[in-house]
Amino acid sequence: MADEDFEETREISVAERLAAEALIVDVDGFEGPLDLLLTLSRTQKVDLRKISILELAKQYLAFVEKAKRLRIELAADYLVMAAWLAFLKSRLLLPPDPTEEGPSGEELAAHLAFQLERLQAMRDAAAKLMARDRQGRDFFVRGIPEDVTRVRKVHYSATLLDLMQGYARIRTRDEFRPFVMDRDSVFTMEEALDRMRGLIGFAGTWTDILNYLPVGWESDPKKRRSATAATFAASLQLVKEGHVEIRQDDVFTPIELRRKDEGYA
């Protein structure tokens, strides 16, 4: 392989060899193998579209060979490219083997040509871009800009409801107190049951249950409320036990009860 390459370098003209040597000296100035290939391709002095990739591969391999002879260390990617170009060269030179898989030498060469053309196109575009009229060099922005002051206007909102609720909150605050059981004004259901069991025997006719409230619990609203609730609950318990009957004619009318006699049932 190496011998073959060496043989081929002899076929390259003196001028090309000189050019290759100049390139080697400048090897640090290249941005990788593609950049070097693009520079080499210029020595062909043809449109990039008509470039001979086979020729280019030979040029590149000669360059690498030369560097080796001059004991110049080439970066790994240059050697990878050299190996790939050697492979490409063999593909391009040998007649296509129909049994072989993979892309043909022509396809690979075409892609390399495309890559070179694209890179060159981007370089030309970059040059055109940098040559444009540029801000701060060819045209200028306003020298004394006026600041745009940001005025933050806070708009406070409140509704009539907020206002009224706020007022109500203040005016009723004193009326609140932590919830505690006021034992002395609570009449329990057990107490009511005891009381009613004693009295039920006398309830032969319909009687308002409020008549069963304990004495002294009618006037104080707090006591009355508790006693009423307890008495009502106790009445229901007595109904459940089958001792009394209960009725209410209409909504909010007095609740009445009477003893349930076997004879009446």
Binding site: K153, V154, S157, R225
Partner: protein, 218 residues
């Protein structure tokens, strides 16, 4: 770079036409970070230019425009027209809920006006911060009323017509009383039943209404 930029050298070129000089003045004044004197303009413009004359034309051109050529000391600059200064502001309106302290203070003033700061504090049970009152004054929802004829002659606060406008009230008397608030279910937390002696509540309302009407009569 044209050679004729060097002002001291004899130029073989004629001075650019006046219209061109005007363009140059315009560009220089636009891009300069500070006002430029005629002398400096002449130094920057090609040989033979007359910045003073070009400026006269430029100034005329910008008459009545959104931008003007103005004199700053012995130099010149371009500035936006003063009547368009409002365009240099970017207004951002932010709507914020009034704080609870402010709402309560406002409510007390509305229901009890004219009311002193001490009275507001007594009703709220906490001190009223200067900021809260200032905010309401600034919003023009409250204003100072007559001084109270009591020791110290404290200032009083009353609500304004802007306040009435905002809340859609014809007068502060239209504010619903406590009883109405309660029946409308506006009391956030009802006190537990039975804890409120009915008679005292009624008294309170009556007293309030009496106080209010007294306050609103001139």
């Amino acid at each position: 770079m044209p050679e004729d930029i060097e002002p001291k050298e004899e130029s073989l070129f004629e001075a650019p036409p006046l219209a061109e000089q005007e363009r140059m003045c315009e560009a220089i004044l636009f891009a300069s970070t500070e006002p430029v004197t005629i002398k400096e303009m002449n130094a920057r413009m090609p040989h033979g230019c007359d910045a003073a004359e070009a400026l006269v034309h430029l100034r005329k051109r910008y008459e009545g425009r959104g931008v003007r050529v103005v004199r700053v000391g012995d130099a010149w600059a371009m500035r936006t027209a003063p009547d368009l200064g409002f365009l240099m502001q970017k207004e951002m309106v932010e709507t914020r809920k009034l704080s609870r302290a402010a709402i309560e203070t406002l409510a007390i003033i509305a229901y009890h006006q004219p009311v002193t700061r001490a009275e507001i504090e007594e009703i709220r049970g906490v001190s009223v911060s200067r900021g809260t009152v200032d905010q309401l004054l600034e919003m023009e929802w409250i204003r100072f009323g007559r001084r109270r004829m009591t020791p110290g002659r404290p200032v009083t606060f009353v609500v304004t017509s802007e306040f009435l406008d905002h809340f859609g009230l014809e007068s502060a008397r239209d504010l619903p009383g406590l009883k109405e608030l309660r029946s409308a279910g506006l009391l956030e937390n009802r006190p537990p039943p039975g804890t409120m002696p009915l008679s005292s509540k009624e008294d309170e309302d009556e007293e309030k209404m009496a106080g209010q009407s007294e306050m609103f009569e001139e």
